[in-house]
Point group: C2
DNA sequence: ACCTGAACACCGTTCAAGT
DNA sequence: ACCTGAACACCGTTCAAGT
């Protein structure tokens, strides 16, 4: 009596999962408290399908988080080819700051055990992304040599916690510029 | 047709309000997502009474926040008489760190407009409390002179945001000790 | 003036029936 | 194998009736 595992996922099943993920980010950004079932409706799937793919709200939040952070990390390559090194660093960190704001809006899902795992699992790729940007700046002589990516991220984390509490984008930008000036 | 305002609050009304506040802190600490109506039941009041006193969950959260922070500030005087200055500072900052953890658990009520007002309104008394503790340490020669209370709080805020994300009490204690060592 | 608690609305979650 | 959506449970909120 061998169990039967499907060799391929059914096409509609894959489509449904992708649809949910693609509406979820915007839905969470618009309203962090959006009813879970509403996301299913927006994606045009039944409640059962929503729950089979993401048994809890947290599962969906974390999947969205993972997806967005991945696309952030993937964007590094294009940035360093398109912009001067220092601008690439600034743009990327600004995007990360925006993401951190949304992440904060996503609620405390990242404070749970599973959430910390996901957040922690992202640490290495994110640190590597920063390392790539820093190395480009270093080569161009835009920052002082020997800067540690983890240190930079720690500093950024500090800025975000302040920025989230107080004013919005403007302040984030100003403080970020101050921090970058400090790296030079 | 002058409106009639009660000259004195009815005794049972005052009692009810106090009862709600006294159960709320523990209830939130036990489970930040405790159903709002459950707090009414724990306090032994009807849903209507709960809602008249605290129209929204946020109102109750903020009232609890205010109350607890007030008692923290009030405790400074006893601490500086009971403990050596540096110990008083350490104990008080540890308590504040514990409170910050619970505050975090209280959810994002403090991120709203009203929440920021309350948090901001607390800044001055809290900074004064720290200033009192610092001055005592300075007089005893335990810290270097000229330390700014706001700077110390900024540093603490940084520690908490790290501590909340990662490990709990142990790490908070270690990092706090490092920070205090830095003040000396 | 203040209280209680039943009543209603809304959202989370499951599961029987369908393709 | 996967889907839909009705059905049920639970919590938030109001308000008529009581003291």
């Amino acid at each position: 009596m061998a169990a039967h595992y499907p060799l391929t996922t059914r096409a509609d099943a894959r489509r449904n999962r992708e649809r949910i993920l693609s509406v979820a980010y915007q839905a969470f950004a618009d309203d962090p408290d959006v009813p879970f079932t509403t996301i299913g409706k927006l994606a045009g799937v039944g409640a059962g399908t929503l729950y089979r793919n993401f048994p809890t709200r947290e599962d969906l939040v974390l999947a969205v988080y993972r997806q967005e952070l991945q696309s952030m990390v993937d964007s590094v390559h294009d940035l360093v080819t398109e912009y001067p090194p220092l601008d690439a660093l600034r743009v990327w960190l600004l995007r990360l700051a925006d993401f951190a704001r949304v992440k904060h809006g996503l609620g405390e899902a990242l404070q749970t055990a599973a959430g910390k795992d996901v957040a922690h699992e992202a640490d290495t790729p994110v640190a590597e992304a920063v390392a790539v940007l820093l190395r480009a700046c270093e080569k161009a002589g835009d920052v002082r040599p020997g800067l540690d990516a983890a240190d930079v991220l720690l500093l950024m984390g500090f800025l975000w916690s302040r920025a989230a509490g107080d004013a919005g984008e403007q302040q984030t930008r100003r403080v970020l510029d101050m921090a970058i000036a400090g790296l030079q």
